[in-house]
Point group: C2
Chain length 333, copies 2
């Protein structure tokens, strides 16, 4: 029988792509989501999952559940025998986290504490946690490998990711929970680009063109969401090796500047993308890209899709879904 | 009318000494404690507070309340109009935190999140949080001033203090809550010494004698608890200046080695203190002492009591209270 894997936040951007890859890899995903990114009134299976069900001609077990609902979570773990958990749920808007820090700490930290406690109670010891490159702060060296110091996060969102990593690592030491931490680098940063290409936004704001980079604009590790999802599944499979608590950076290893991305998206879409140079934003770093060699060596994973394909796929999706799934979908942030 | 100040963990070692200083400074302390350090069955006003009531011939408003009890906390804030909160409550055993990390994160973080949320709801904007020198990790320079980098904590207890500081600072930025963070350096580290002097322990374990210090043993900033309590009151008074979020290191500025403390305690007690050299413990640093100049300049506070007086007072207390208040009192850790 297929192993049941709980996917928290499985209705979201990376989560739903992981659900696809889980099904294709022979796992049985059980998805929970609290609709916190959904439009008012939408209280059904997320559209992302409905589409997956249609495309793969299958049904996905889905529960509307908030990780802050400890009782509901206990009930879920009593109903199902999970072999592992993939944890994507959480608030994720950097700017909002600065305005409402307590809400971010409460939601992201308490959700994870509830999850870890209920996992411990039910003897579920396998976890893949989706973290963020923001935990590395301002990079001290590039590319960023897994030995790079963590901390120095400049906003509460980033701090919650960092604090959660620390919690998980401490829990791992004490309870020998097997954990893999993935780092998702700028997975959804391309959304503004496609919005301009499709005409929903007039122009792109480029924050700073005086960084010490190839053309002065910020350099990031843009990765295809399918690659990212496959990396998470590779991490999940690694858990069977009794690997302890390990961190893997999931990135392409190549950094592209904002202006390079503009050109690539212009090519893929055949549209001109207008941009305005705006001042630097506080907390933004000049360059950030992963050293993905450890993931390749130990997980047998590397990003397959190149920049061209990434832009083509994003353009295809955005032109077919001009308003995204919902008003707060990752493509309209 | 005297300003009401909520003291969380006010039955504990530093908390109860602060209650004394609050009363003497004309404030009206309202104390909560959850008895988490109390012996089984003890469900009355803590002995520490009963003694204060007797000595000062006054009565102290005390509630048995756990900060995890959100409803009870809401009720308390509805009953009272607090001008400020002094937050001492929390689990504090380093070794235990390594064994039970989730419990430490749950209790210390959730307690503080509850407190900050309820303070926000009720418009209470003044907080003095008692942190720990452990947030500085392995000191990069000595003495440690308030600009010293934080993080690099080696145990979950220390991380909870560090995370709470970050939460409070973020909350302060967003809500203009006025906050002072105090750093208590090794306030209760002398307990083992007095236990040996009084004969309750056979010998003192000295962990490591090959550090780069005056005699190879660890150097710490030992401070009289009354000085520490007075420093907290000075911080509380500072809040009226609309000072924003500030950090003050409360220490003497002088470091003494373990063997120097042994000699000082031998002198104060007239007893020989046997000690054994044990291997270094993981996470211990060679030297750690504060630069207290900022506190002197901005709070008008400095430690008054010298090493001799500190040892004399500790010896007097311990010889009159050989088993401490309770089995888990700070003097029997």
């Amino acid at each position: 029988m297929a192993q049941k894997v709980l996917v928290t936040g499985g209705g979201g951007y990376i989560g739903s792509h992981c659900v696809v890859e889980l099904i294709e890899a022979g796992f049985c995903p059980v998805v929970i989501d609290n609709f916190s990114n959904a439009v008012q009134g939408e209280r059904d299976v997320p559209e992302s999952l409905q589409r997956i069900e249609k495309i793969l001609d299958t049904s996905i077990e889905f529960y509307e559940l908030d990780l802050l609902d400890r009782t509901g979570l206990e009930k879920l773990f009593k109903q199902h025998s999970f072999s592992a958990v993939m944890h994507f749920a959480g608030l994720k808007a950097v700017g909002e986290s600065v305005e409402q820090p307590l809400r971010y700490y409460r939601v992201n930290l308490t959700a994870t504490m509830n999850l870890l406690e209920v996992m411990q109670t039910h003897g579920v010891r396998n976890l893949v946690f989706s973290s963020s490159a923001t935990v590395y702060g301002d990079p001290q060296r590039l590319p960023i490998d897994e030995q790079h110091p963590v901390g120095g996060c400049t906003n509460p969102y980033g701090k919650t990711k960092y604090f959660i990593e620390e919690m998980i690592m401490d829990q791992c030491k004490a309870e020998k929970v097997l954990i893999v931490i993935d780092f998702t680098l700028c997975a959804v940063a391309l959304s503004s680009l496609t919005q301009v290409a499709i005409g929903r936004r007039k122009h792109l704001n480029v924050f700073g063109n005086d960084y010490d980079t190839i053309d002065g604009t910020g350099v990031r590790d843009y990765i295809h969401v399918v690659d990212l999802a496959k990396g998470h599944i590779a991490a999940l499979k690694k858990l069977k090796d009794n690997c302890g608590c390990k961190v893997y950076n999931l990135g392409t290893g190549t950094g592209y500047s904002v202006l390079q991305m503009v050109k690539a998206m212009e090519k893929a879409s055949g549209k001109e993308i207008m941009y305005l140079i705006a001042p630097r934003r506080g907390g933004d770093v000049a360059s950030c890209y992963a050293d993905p060699l450890l993931a390749e060596k130990e997980l047998g994973w590397k990003a397959d899709f190149d920049l061209e394909r990434m832009c083509e796929d994003l353009w295809r999706w955005q032109s077919k879904n001009p308003t995204g799934f919902t008003k707060n979908s990752p493509f309209s942030i």
